[in-house]
Symmetry: C2
Subunit: 161 residues, 2 copies
Amino acid sequence: MAPVMRMTLNLNPGVSYSSMSDGQRTSGARLAEAGVRATRQRLLVLETLAREPHDATAQEIYARLRQGGEPVGLATVYRTLALLSEHGVVDEFAHRPGETCYRVCGEGHHHHLVCARCHGVAELEGCELDEWLVRASREHGFQPTSHTLEVVGLCASCQAA
Amino acid sequence: MAPVMRMTLNLNPGVSYSSMSDGQRTSGARLAEAGVRATRQRLLVLETLAREPHDATAQEIYARLRQGGEPVGLATVYRTLALLSEHGVVDEFAHRPGETCYRVCGEGHHHHLVCARCHGVAELEGCELDEWLVRASREHGFQPTSHTLEVVGLCASCQAA
DNA sequence: ATAATTGCAAAGCGTTTGCACCCTG
DNA sequence: CAGGGTGCAAACGCTTTGCAATTAT
């Protein structure tokens, strides 16, 4: 298992995070853009998820926070991840049965390359499926509105090993 | 939420066929081909699933059997569906979080068109993704081995409504 | 101020498992 | 006959929810 990563968060109670304006998109900014209140817990959850090398479950985020000594309730982690997913701040997907995984993703439509060995996730920019999909679906009288694609294989590092 | 379909293709060759009535022969043959014992319960589960217009969960299959007055245990339904999935007799996928759906599918590699309104499932024969995937993945040093695609939209009937 | 958010613990739900009995091959 | 299959119920793990206390705006 990976070593525990202790997080340093410059939380400044009383500061309006929505008015933070620097080059980078802070967690506070992301929350503000999404139109949700920037609470200490939500910032922690988002920061923690953003630092995860792979996707993570609510339980895993909760464990990270606990290990870091941060007092956050499990229910809050669940509620926060669901909320962030609703508002498009994080992506939600389930390659694991019985568990929901989350990940902070880039902008726009994309798909994921999941390594079967290390479970690392890379983003596959661009998507050339639409044209084929519309054409193929038409034969069924089907009108596609969205699609999800997940590619499983071996990442560069794991091919070497 | 990102639905994921898991497909298992597994052939277990060279197993003796059992002599059965015409109604059960197809299911019995499928079980025999898969190299699993053809018990009353397994035949019932497989035939019930095959009769489902859409995909179904273990609980739903169990309910159907109960309604039909067939004495089958819930645990057996779970164990049977998992077994059949392992042996490629049925496909297993999860567009619903927290539940695993099953469906008797056609042969070969294919994807699913899922209607957002009636949840009906159609099969999309053929798959033109491989070429693009290999090319696109190479840019990441990624070597794809398999992929899952699920298309959500409106089926012909539901477009009318 | 006040409406949203959190924490805790209990409940909900789908699924799995231990074990004695039953049945297929 | 032997070893796998089944049924029942208890156990399990992930997730949700009720409610009082807390907190953001």
